[in-house]
């Protein structure tokens, strides 16, 4: 008789009464889905102990053997000779006439006393219940077995339910692969609902999400940093970038001197230095949100409450997964899926006070300013500019002007211009979330609203988002997730214009005239910058808004085809729209000197984008003894298209009501753009681990992109990594070492930072461009069809460790990256005749070397663990330099000498082999000659001179700090926590533009830094840092303005309190959390320089609370 135990859904177990061969029946319902083959046994043994035979059978059948082994002790040795016999039959024969029975359960052979069966029928009862995972998903195929005779075992059904016959004091073991086993002693229950914790959860180990897969930190062969939701919650901040930087300072945010704290300017971000130099170089990391590439702006606008984790991938062993796009580092962001079964509501509210910080401005007051003007010769006629006869008249006019202003000052006119366009503002952010589920299905709904007001009046950023998550999960089998997200944001700019306008206005200029109206024009001002009151402009109709909406649907599937094979797939559809509107009133002072028919400006833009991406990922993994092996093959396609129409109207005389379009305009321009990009990639990932000690990683990716010319359409990228878990070695095991891991990796990846027109020459056809009756195509862009993917070769070595029971944890990584075939916009001699005299070329090599070191020390902790204090310090260094400079790049130096309208040269990159790419250029200066008040320069050949010569320009500073990092202190006492994040930079140079543009090169009629008054040379013998106060000649780029900068900043201070337990339960709350945080509270710098030129910096004070029902 062949017993096909696997073909039945319901299975009947039959136990035979020994001797009588009577069948005692009881029924257990078991649900089977596994497809193992029918078991047959071939065995020949002579006079062997029964246990040995059973072990052999167990080995052949790969079944478990359990039960009361004592029963086997008295049994005589057995002889057996079977060939391809059915297992059940064999077992039956073996137990025939014995005091025990051998029975088959799903994957176990059970030994039990033969007599017990019949008896227990009467004393036992049926226990039923469900087994679920920690998220409430029913678990199927969980093994449940009794640990006290009578032994019995069942498995759960697809809805997680089970029934088992037990005695009253039975002990049960619930077990399943991937979950922590659970032992439970019964106490007469008839229903028992159990939750199993997954092993990952048990280990409390954060997984490193790499987008395509997830890894345990100990199996990584490169540096990375994971930020969990718990860490993010504590920050209670609006700005995700500063949060990430506070946690990992290698995420570097460029301090934007101009944009300050403008909420609508997305800062430049880099990880581990600048890989590409030049105007069009993109060095920002790739952002992957739920598997889909998104812009940095999207991350900037993402509601922090939606984020489950953020992972920074820095080393090539991980970033190579993104091949051509991963060279600048990758940020992998995962959002929260719905997980709880019980309906849970949470609400997060944050109120933010934005307080403007103009502490870097030290402007003259009215008295100082007038004295300064007098000294600088504003009120003295320069000899020779007027005919002798008119000189006196002019001098009298100037004297009058001075006296009038002085009278104003004495009368008390002291306008505080800086405070006019700014305010402290309160903004609120709300985020609400509901999640729940039925059976295998979970859902999560979230909505957020945040209208963040900026420090300048009338500016801000409004973000609205909603998301709907649906998860279907069959644990260990299948996971389907669909996420539908709608986001919208509106960026509105201040009508007050650039902040720098206010920093130039003079304190003796009154805001309002005698009748109390705002002054529009100061009649006695000759300088255009000072003639018009910016506040008057601010009161005119104005519009500078941008709207964007994004609708995204992410679908992902995870299917465990078999224990060794897994299929993952994601598909993303996206639709986005953008709209912008800009209106400048014809009455605006910008048009004060324009022709009557070209005043007023209106422009609007509309954009529409579509994108999709999909990938399929097949993973095969196998563990055999100490060998663990996994490999994945991934295919990916990605497409995005964007269409944009912009319209510009210039010239309409009458001021308009908002949003009504002018009927007539002198100039009416329409521009249409249509961009389409496609990418496809094939990725292979292999990982081998031996005994959890040695790890080998190998990855290869091939990418093809539409952006490239035909000559270089595909690129190949690879990496190799090695890891060594020293703490697993027997010879190294020490009590005080919990973790000690070393890794190294090397490989090549790329950056995707380019446009199709870099490779293709093109014409443009604009409507007005007609030659007689023919459209004229104008040569627009010179393409370089030989342009290649830039390659970043990198290697890295590092280690992590945990010592003394976690009292000390540290990590260190050293890296070296070389960007080869860097894409640069090369400027050629104008005679070549290229549009803009430039084209793109692969040239130059940039090297970045640096290290990242961090250590955490548990300073104190009491025995109850209710009080603890951790200190973390990190130190980083990155030095980027040009290691190979081509002739063309060297020539760029000349073309980079861009002159401003005032004829001054701007501080731009200067390429010099072996020098930093973050350098400062200028002419060496020995300072101001005390005798003459003139600057003394040193020529390249060493000679001293008073003449500034463009040919003496050289590298005079390095902006990269010698060291930068964070210091983080976290103090916890029960539910209270106080944290402070300090950041520091040491030893970088900075070109103090305040000294250059405001102290020396400023027109003395404009208001400026007080040093222009106090610290400039006045008479022979003065040891002054700045040139003659009367000298109005422009100062060129000089080393005199280069300063060494050391800064210390309290970037974030936060206090959190969690209410727990009974205190809130009575209000039916699960959780209540209060937060308070301050950003940018304190900044100490060795350089005194105005910051936030177009938009001031601001401090933010946040008070937030989170409630969960």
């Amino acid at each position: 008789m062949e017993l096909k135990k696997n073909s039945f859904d319901f299975y009947l177990f039959i136990s035979l009464k020994n001797g009588l061969r009577l069948i005692v029946l009881f029924f257990v319902f078991i649900f089977f889905t596994d497809q193992a083959a029918a078991q047959s046994i071939t065995l020949k043994k002579d006079k062997s102990p029964l246990l040995e035979i059973l072990r052999e059978i167990q080995h052949q059948s790969k079944l478990d053997l359990f039960g009361d082994f004592d029963l086997l002790k008295g049994v005589k040795p057995f002889s057996i000779d079977v060939k391809n016999r059915d297992l059940a039959q064999v077992l039956h024969e073996l137990s025939d006439g014995q005091p025990f029975s051998l029975s088959l359960y799903r994957d176990a052979i059970v030994i039990e006393a033969a007599k017990l069966r019949a008896k227990e029928e009467k004393t036992s009862k049926l226990l039923s219940g469900t087994v679920k995972d920690e998220n409430g998903f029913p678990l199927e195929n969980v093994n449940i077995r009794s640990l006290i005779p009578p032994y019995r075992a069942v498995t759960t059904q697809s809805d997680g339910s089970y029934q088992i016959r037990v005695d009253t004091d039975q002990e049960l073991l619930f077990s399943m692969v991937g979950y922590e086993p659970l032992r439970l002693k019964l106490n007469g229950e008839i229903a028992l609902h159990v939750q199993l914790k997954s092993q990952q959860q048990m280990m409390e180990e954060v997984l490193i999400h790499r987008g395509y897969d997830s890894r345990k930190p100990l199996s990584m062969t490169g540096a990375s940093r994971s930020i969990t939701r718990r860490e993010l919650e504590q920050f209670n901040s609006n700005n995700i970038f500063t949060v990430i930087q506070s946690i990992d300072p290698t995420f570097h945010i460029d301090q934007n001197l101009f944009a300050g704290s403008n909420p609508n300017i997305i800062p430049d971000v880099t990880i581990r230095g600048i890989n590409n130099v030049g105007e069009y170089a993109i060095n920002s990391p790739l952002v992957i949100l739920d598997g889909f590439e998104v812009s940095l702006e999207r991350l900037y606008d993402l509601d922090i409450n939606r984020i489950e984790s953020i992972t920074l991938l820095k080393d090539v062993s991980s970033t190579v997964l993104y091949g051509s796009r991963g060279g600048n580092g990758v940020l992998v962001v995962e959002t929260r899926p719905g997980t709880a079964e019980k309906l849970t509501l949470s609400y997060d509210m944050r109120s933010t006070v934005t307080a403007v910080d103009v502490g870097d401005y030290h402007l003259m007051n009215a008295a100082e300013k007038l004295d300064f003007e007098k000294l600088a010769g504003v009120y003295t006629v320069t000899a020779g500019t007027f005919p002798p006869a008119e000189e006196n008249i002019e001098q009298a006019r100037l004297d009058n002007l001075y006296n009038r202003r002085k009278a104003n000052m004495i009368r008390g006119v002291e306008t505080d211009w800086l405070s006019q366009p700014t305010h402290s503002s309160l903004s609120l952010a709300h985020s609400i979330r509901a999640e729940g589920g039925v059976g295998r299905i979970r859902y999560g709904i979230q909505g957020n609203y945040n209208n963040l007001a900026g420090a300048m009046k009338g500016s801000g950023r409004r973000r609205i988002g909603s998301t709907f998550d649906l998860v279907y999960r069959k644990p260990q089998k299948i996971l389907l997730r669909n996420n539908l997200t709608y986001l919208s944001n509106k960026a509105y700019q201040s009508p007050y214009g650039p902040f720098s306008r206010y920093a130039q206005m003079n304190p003796y200029q009154p805001l309002r005239n005698e009748s109390g109206d705002l002054v529009r024009q100061y009649a006695d001002e000759s300088l255009e910058e000072l003639q018009y009151n910016p506040l008057y402009d601010a009161g005119l109709p104005h519009r500078a808004d941008e709207y964007a909406t994004i609708l995204t649907n992410n679908f992902s599937l995870e299917w465990n085809i078999s224990p060794v094979l897994k299929l993952r797939s994601t598909a993303v559809l996206e639709k986005n729209t953008s709209k912008s509107e800009f209106y400048l009133s014809p009455l605006h002072s910008r048009f004060a000197r324009a022709d009557q028919d070209s005043i007023g400006q209106y422009s609007s833009g509309k954009g529409n984008g579509n994108g999709y991406s999909a990938n399929v990922n097949i993973t095969y993994f196998k563990t055999r003894k100490k060998h663990a092996f996994s490999t994945s093959l991934i295919g990916e396609v990605k497409s995005s298209s964007f269409k944009q129409d912009t319209r510009q109207l210039i010239g309409f005389t009458a001021d308009l009501e908002r949003s009504s379009l002018p009927k007539y305009a002198k100039s009416n321009q329409l521009v249409h753009r249509d961009i389409e990009n496609r990418l496809l990639g094939v990725l292979f990932v292999g990982n081998y681990t031996y005994d959890q000690k040695y790890i080998l990683d190998a990855s290869y990716r091939m990418d093809g992109s539409s952006k490239f010319g035909e000559n270089a359409r595909y690129g190949n990228f690879w990496s190799l990594g090695l890891g060594y878990n020293l703490h697993q070695e027997h010879f190294f095991k020490r009590d005080w070492i919990q973790e000690l891991r070393l890794f190294t990796n090397t490989g090549v990846n790329g950056t995707d930072a380019f446009l199709a027109n870099m490779t293709l020459s093109s014409y443009v056809l604009s409507p007005g461009q007609v030659y007689y009756k023919e459209f004229g195509l104008s040569y627009f862009n010179e393409g370089n069809p030989d342009l290649h993917w830039p390659q970043i070769h990198s290697w890295s070595v590092g280690g992590t460790g945990k010592l003394f029971d976690g009292r000390i944890a540290f990590s260190y990584a050293y890296y070296s990256k070389v960007t080869d075939r860097m894409i640069s916009l090369i400027t050629v001699a104008p005679s070549v005749g290229l549009p803009n005299d430039s084209y793109f070329e692969n040239m130059g090599k940039v090297q970045n070397r640096g290290f990242e070191a961090a250590a955490t020390i548990k300073v104190m902790e009491n025995s109850k663990k209710t009080l603890s204090w951790y200190l973390t310090a990190s130190a980083n260094r990155n030095q980027g330099k040009l290691i190979e400079i081509s002739e063309a790049l060297r020539q760029l130096n000349a073309s980079n000498l861009v002159r401003t309208n005032e004829g001054l040269y701007k501080q731009t990159v200067y390429y010099e082999q072996g020098k930093s790419i973050n350098n400062i250029k200028g002419v060496r200066s020995l300072g101001i000659d005390p005798a003459s008040g003139q600057e003394i320069f040193q020529k390249i050949n060493g000679r001293l001179t008073n003449e500034w010569d463009i040919n003496d320009i050289t590298v005079i500073g390095n902006r990269e700090p010698k060291l930068f990092g964070n210091i983080h202190s976290a103090f916890n006492f029960r539910q209270f926590s106080l944290q402070a994040y300090f950041s520091y930079t040491l030893g970088g140079d900075i070109y103090n533009h305040t000294l250059a543009d405001r102290v020396e090169n400023s027109d003395p009629r404009l208001n400026t830094d007080i040093r222009a008054f106090y610290d400039r040379w006045r008479q022979p013998g003065d040891q002054a840092a700045f040139k003659d106060i009367r000298n109005v000649e422009k100062t060129g780029l000089t080393s005199r303005f280069v300063q060494r900068e050391n800064t210390l900043q309290l970037s974030c201070l936060m206090i959190n309190y969690d209410f727990l337990g009974e205190r809130i339960k009575k209000y039916r709350l699960q959780r209540l959390r209060l937060n308070f945080s301050v950003n940018g509270l304190l900044r100490i710098s060795t350089v005194k320089m105005e910051r936030g030129l177009d938009y001031p910096f601001a401090r933010t004070f946040n008070i937030g609370c989170m409630i969960q029902f």
Binding site: E676, Y772, V832, Q891
Partner: protein
């Protein structure tokens, strides 16, 4: 199990590699050269683009016509506040002048590059009936543009000869920077281009239809190559340029032969001819019929309105004629007489020259003749002949001058023994000064002669610093070949 994996992998791989075409998409943000230069229409639009660019304000729309160049020869009154004041003082290193000069340099070289892009691709349409026209025009333009650069930025050949450093010459669209060549080397390359163009353009429709006719038939797809040939670099323009080139090279014998050849050809076809006074007064005030090569400027009114205003005057821009204290002596006294057709046709007694007053639309639409900027005109050919005969035959020379004087309604000058080379030369220069008011011709003519510049505020002595516009700083720094003299 294994077969499932294999099938999966195969499906994945094949689906990815079948996407090869898919990934080769192009954004249609721009019109790519490889897509455009495939048929006659693409090439003629690309050519039209070059002409259009040449008509921009930085080149022949303004600076190389009535703008910078004519400011410097003193046709207009320029005060201290005027935006052209630094140019008027030959202060080439002031920011505004520097930008203007850099704009001329790179503008002309960009046009050269555009010609080279066409020339590199034109063999793709070798079988097209208009292949010769396209290639001939592009070659001729390339030579013309280089000659213009040489005239402005090159040496004073009369003083320095042909072997000093001149300009770089670009004969292909490669991005390779070319070093500076001697004038002699440049002329040789120009000669090559012009001779090739001459052969290609031998069947130019201008020969049979004249400079303004439209050769398109009703119902056909419009072909701009056969419409109004006078605004294309046509066959006659190539002949004129050959003469002009020989003139600048100092080879006046050859110049005369070439000029005579052109006049003989034109005498037969009348494709370009002197304007009749009746056509000029109140009608064709720009004497367009005499343009051997003109540039059509669609936005002529916008280009000129600020400088020759009819309404509001922007004092720092407007260019009032320096007439009462200066030009009156040229036009109405000495060698001139007030009967001069130009005086009446161009409205010389008003504050602003009427010649460039923004053309207004008439009932019958606009008159295309008012939208042409003059690049090479018929009198120039006569002037070349006069110059050539200065050393050989004064009477013949005077005859040629008289042909122009007749056309301008000036009394003929009678030849006698009293005529000296100097006297004829003076009469020639005065005639040139009268002829090219507002056309940007005179400055380089002075340079060609290495002659004093006459101005109301005092004469300017010839000087390399004045006649050789400085090579832009960017070129000096980025062109390795700048230091090399050949």
């Amino acid at each position: 199990m294994r077969t499932r994996v294999i099938i999966g992998v195969i499906v994945l791989l094949t689906s990815i590699f079948s996407c090869k075409k898919w990934v080769e998409t192009k954004s249609d943000e721009s019109t790519y050269v490889v897509d455009v230069l495939t048929d006659r229409e693409g090439f003629s639009r690309a050519l039209a683009g070059i002409y259009y660019k040449m008509g921009s304000a930085t080149l022949y729309g303004r600076e190389l016509e009535f703008g910078m160049l004519d400011v410097m020869v003193g046709y207009w009154k320029i005060n201290k506040q005027h935006e052209y004041y630094p140019d008027y003082n030959f202060d080439y290193h002031s920011l505004s002048s520097e930008r203007r000069i850099a704009g001329i340099w790179s503008g002309l070289y960009r046009a050269i590059h555009d010609c080279n892009v066409i020339l590199d691709q034109v063999d793709k349409i070798k079988s097209d009936p208009y292949y010769d026209l396209i290639k001939g025009e592009a070659l001729g333009l390339r030579a013309f543009l280089h000659l213009e650069l040489l005239k402005l930025f090159g040496p004073i050949i009369k003083q320095e000869g042909l072997d000093t450093r001149a300009i770089p010459y670009y004969s292909s669209s490669s991005r390779e920077v070319q070093e500076f060549l001697s004038s002699r080397a440049c002329f040789a390359l120009m000669e090559q281009d012009l001779q090739a163009a001459k052969i290609l353009l031998k069947a130019d429709p201008i020969i049979t239809r004249g400079r303004e006719a439209d050769g398109n038939h009703v119902g056909d797809r419009y072909n701009s190559l056969i419409d109004r040939r006078g605004i294309h670099l046509n066959y006659y323009a190539v002949l004129a340029l050959l003469a002009r080139k020989a003139q600048w090279e100092g080879n006046m014998g050859e110049a005369a032969v070439r000029a005579r050849f052109l006049l003989d050809q034109l005498g037969d076809t009348q494709a370009v001819r002197f304007i009749a006074p009746s056509e000029a007064i109140g009608g064709n005030i720009r004497f367009t019929k005499e343009n051997i090569f003109g540039l059509y400027i669609n936005d002529m009114d916008e280009v000129t309105e600020d400088y020759f205003p009819s309404g509001d005057i922007a004092p720092n821009r407007a260019l009032p004629l320096d007439f009462n204290s200066f030009l009156i002596y040229l036009y109405a006294k000495d060698t001139g007489t007030s009967t001069d057709l130009r005086v009446s046709a161009w409205g010389m007694f008003s504050v602003f020259l009427q010649k460039f007053m923004a053309p207004t639309m008439t009932a019958s639409g606009y008159d295309p003749d008012l939208y042409e900027a003059q690049i090479i005109n018929l009198p120039e050919i006569y002037f070349i002949l006069v110059e050539a005969f200065l050393d050989r035959d004064l009477e013949k020379g005077l005859n040629y001058l008289n042909t122009v004087r007749r056309a301008r309604q000036l009394p003929e000058l009678k030849f006698s023994d009293k005529w000296t080379k100097e006297k004829l030369a003076e009469n020639l220069l005065d005639e040139v000064r009268r002829e090219y008011l507002g056309e940007g011709y005179l400055f380089t003519y002075y340079k060609h002669l290495n002659h004093t510049i006459y101005r109301s505020t005092g004469s300017i002595d010839p000087d390399r610093k004045i006649f050789m516009l400085p090579i832009p700083v960017e070129e000096q720094q980025l062109n390795q070949g700048y230091g090399i003299k050949k």
